[in-house]
């Protein structure tokens, strides 16, 4: 029987329209706007000034703290300005705008397609290269990878899980990467294992991608300590805690990190970026982005330079369809709706999804009929109906006691509710408030 997580989970229509589309390199835009904060943690500190000449791969903003990451130029050209640019949520954030001139890469970057398998580096050297390259979790959480690779004192990682689940409907960037860069991903996986001294690696893939499963199974044949695990399709299996549960049966304790159960999880995109950083000296300045939607003329998977405007991607996919109602950065379950298409692709942008007008509005909310579907689909064993009610009533003690902080915001509850209740909206409200209260208590 195929492995999967429990409890909970839902089966939204997969709609992987762009799954058959090979990765295309998107033309370099005329200007890029590169935010200095593309990761969880402190924003990076800009190193360049207006008028400076930069090359592809050059550090333009330096890691701004322990949990932070370097930012590199994705193009060559001249720094136009260092300005406030809106991020995908519309918040003003500091960013570096570069006018593109040519495509001149730093010389140290190996641009050949040749597969390099050099495992002579020691753990520290690998981690340093990853840190230097500004690699963050590319599954969407954007946690700096070099921080994750150095476990807190007294904790030891035994298992590395590479996340090739891509459980979000529509998105296919990880799928395409697995098909087209399987060798590189396997090398990246081995490098990550070496960096942490891990003996056992798993690559978890849902069985709606049989081509990726068989390809990676073949590529890992020569490494008996790396196993490809075929998983039963169920959302949110790509959630870190759910994937660990599905593959190892271990449960990350409430409030804890995967390392608490001896595991570390990295996305396939991250494994590929690690390969490029360590074997090719190539920093993270481009990524695969799916552009898709039911009315999109040319659903595609693009290799995009970081800082490219979302509008350029949409143009390349055939333009904004007439019936567009909503544009989402990410997938339909956890992605963010964006108000304008002039925002930049960042390290965490896995896809651009264009939703039709008639599917973009929420349906009318009616009374809770206590059907308990939200409880049965919650992958964290929470009671969404209750959390919503106590959040609405501002009973923050009750919100906290009912484990609101465990919520991973996967949206399964809101997705499934037959009364169309905005469960996750209120749970987020409760989470934010309880988070504040908890921090105040600590101080």
């Amino acid at each position: 029987m195929l492995k999967t997580f429990k409890p909970g989970g839902v089966h939204p229509p997969e709609n992987k329209i762009s799954a058959g589309k090979s990765i295309e390199v998107l033309a370099i835009p005329k200007t890029v706007s590169i935010p200095v904060s593309q990761h969880i943690g402190a924003p990076a500190v800009a190193l360049v000034n207006r008028g400076d000449e930069v090359k592809v791969g050059q550090v333009i903003a330096k890691s701004g703290g322990f949990v932070s990451a370097n930012i590199h130029s994705s193009v060559s050209g001249k720094v136009k300005k260092i300005d406030i640019i809106p991020d995908s949520s519309g918040y003003p954030k500091s960013g570096i705008v570069i006018d593109v001139e040519g495509d001149e890469w730093l010389e140290k970057i190996d641009r050949s397609e040749e597969l390099v398998k050099d495992f002579d580096l020691d753990s520290k050297e690998i981690v340093d290269k990853i840190m230097e390259a500004g690699i963050v979790g590319l599954g969407g959480a954007t946690f700096p990878t070099h921080v994750k690779l150095v476990p807190p004192k007294g904790m030891k990682a035994e298992i590395l899980i590479i996340n090739g689940v891509e459980c979000e409907p529509y998105l296919t960037s990880d799928h395409r990467l697995m098909l087209e860069k399987a060798n590189e991903i396997v090398v990246g996986t081995r490098l990550l294992m070496k960096a942490m001294g891990i003996e056992k690696g798993y690559i978890g893939i849902e069985n709606n991608k049989p081509d990726a499963i068989s390809l990676l199974t073949e590529k890992t044949k020569e490494y008996p300590n790396i196993k490809v695990v075929s998983l039963k399709v169920k959302y949110p299996q790509g959630g870190e805690k759910q994937l660990i549960k599905a593959i190892t049966g271990r449960e990350v304790p409430s409030g804890g990190l995967p390392i608490a159960v001896g595991t570390v999880v990295s996305n396939v995109g991250t494994a590929f970026a690690v390969y490029e950083a360590v074997q090719k000296n190539k920093p993270l300045f481009e990524r695969i982005v799916t552009v898709t939607g039911k009315s999109v003329e040319k659903p595609s998977n693009f290799k995009v330079r970081i800082g490219t405007a979302v509008s350029e991607l949409i143009e390349a996919a055939g333009g904004t369809p007439e019936d567009t109602g909503k544009i989402i950065s990410g997938g339909p379950m956890m992605g963010k709706a964006i108000a304008k298409t002039d925002v930049s692709v960042t390290k965490g942008t896995s896809g651009i999804l264009i939703i039709k007008d008639e599917e973009s509005k929420r349906r009318e909310t009616i009374a809770c009929i206590r059907c308990s579907k939200c409880v049965s689909v919650c992958p964290m064993g929470l009671e969404p109906y209750l959390l919503m009610t106590v959040s609405q009533k501002q009973m923050w003690d009750a919100v906290e006691a009912n484990k609101v902080m465990d919520c991973i915001e996967c949206g399964s509850c809101s997705y499934t509710c037959p009364s169309n209740r905005p469960l996750l909206d209120y749970i987020r409200l409760g989470k934010g408030k309880v988070g504040q209260i908890m921090r105040a208590r600590k101080n």
Partner: protein, 327 residues
């Protein structure tokens, strides 16, 4: 493009589940039992059911519009279910005005006075039924003859009533077992009883459909019927001369109707599987206790209502297993 985009928090997609769909699946699940009822009790069964449904819809509409001054929500299908369930719980020959009173109590008192769909503590149809049982005991226990049972009479007794009567008269069960319908008749529904409760088999068919369409889960029906079987089985093993066997208990009275269609009412039953099992076991034990030692021959209505009252308490103390929790 100058179009204004919709911006809202995730998730951006929704399943095609809706309250309407759930309600109409329940209605559909009750159709086999209703068809059987028309077959064995004649046109009366249809008349009573339609009266009950119409009354429930009309009362819901009028009360919401003119007393509560809210937008009437009669189209959600819940009033139809209440109407059918109320009809299922009364004799098929009940006078029209009694069923209308029952509908008023169900919708007006049990449902809307608590705030309407989703907010009622007690199962509306059962509140209506119990109100009628207490107010019109004669009408509510004069059972029409089941055409298929081959008995030549105007009124008939239910199997449970038969047993209660004989125990009361000091008889031992072996003396009256000959009068009790056979297991096959009870399973198919060739017995006397309320309009919708007689055919155990067709109620199970409806239950399987609801399970299949994920309207209900197995927990409540299995807990109710299982605990009834175990509890009555123990009593039967102790003394088969005064206690009936478990098969009899499962196939008679409102056991199937209650376990499959009324105890499973989403609004009034617990939210977690564990809570649902506790609730179901409570119903089973109370039902057998009332049937065995109570004044009424049948007790599942009371049992469900009593456990409805305990549901909020169960929800407070029985929590789902938290992911990564310590216990």
């Amino acid at each position: 493009m100058s179009k204004i985009l919709t911006v809202s928090p995730s998730p951006h997609v929704h399943s095609d589940e809706s309250v309407n769909k759930i309600m109409y699946r329940v209605v559909l699940a009750m159709m086999p039992a209703l068809a059987w009822s028309v077959f064995v009790f004649g046109f009366d069964a249809l008349r009573v059911t339609l009266t009950a449904v119409a009354a429930c819809i009309v009362f819901e509409y009028l009360i919401q519009k003119f007393l509560m001054k809210v937008t009437p929500s009669v189209t959600d299908g819940s009033a139809i279910i209440t109407g059918i369930l109320l009809a299922f719980n009364v004799p098929a020959n009940i006078p029209w005005w009694i069923i209308i009173i029952g509908a008023l109590v169900s919708i007006g008192i049990a449902k809307l006075s608590f705030g309407g769909l989703g907010n009622n503590i007690f199962n509306p149809a059962l509140v209506g039924r119990v109100f009628l049982l207490i107010s019109f005991p004669v009408h509510m226990t004069s059972w029409p003859v089941n055409i298929q049972s081959g008995v030549d009479a105007v009124t008939s007794a239910t199997p449970l009533g038969l047993i209660k009567e004989s125990i009361k008269n000091g008889q031992v069960l072996s003396d009256v077992l000959g009068d009790v319908p056979g297991t096959m008749d009870m399973l198919l529904g060739n017995i006397g009883g309320s309009l919708g409760e007689v055919s155990a088999l067709l109620l199970i068919v409806g239950g399987i459909y609801m399970l299949f369409r994920k309207v209900i889960t197995w927990h409540i029906p299995v807990a109710v019927l299982g605990s009834m079987a175990i509890f009555s089985g123990i009593l039967w093993l102790v003394n088969p001369e005064i206690f009936m066997n478990p098969v009899f208990h499962l196939l008679t009275g409102g056991a199937m109707l209650g376990a499959i269609f009324m105890a499973t009412d989403m609004v009034t039953s617990p939210m977690t599987p564990k809570g649902q099992i506790i609730y179901g076991v409570g119903i089973g034990i109370i039902t057998i206790s009332i049937r065995t030692w109570g004044a009424y021959p049948e007790g599942i209505s009371f049992a469900i209502l009593l456990m409805n009252a305990v549901t909020p308490l169960i929800n407070t103390y029985i929590k789902p297993k938290r992911f990564g929790g310590t216990k």
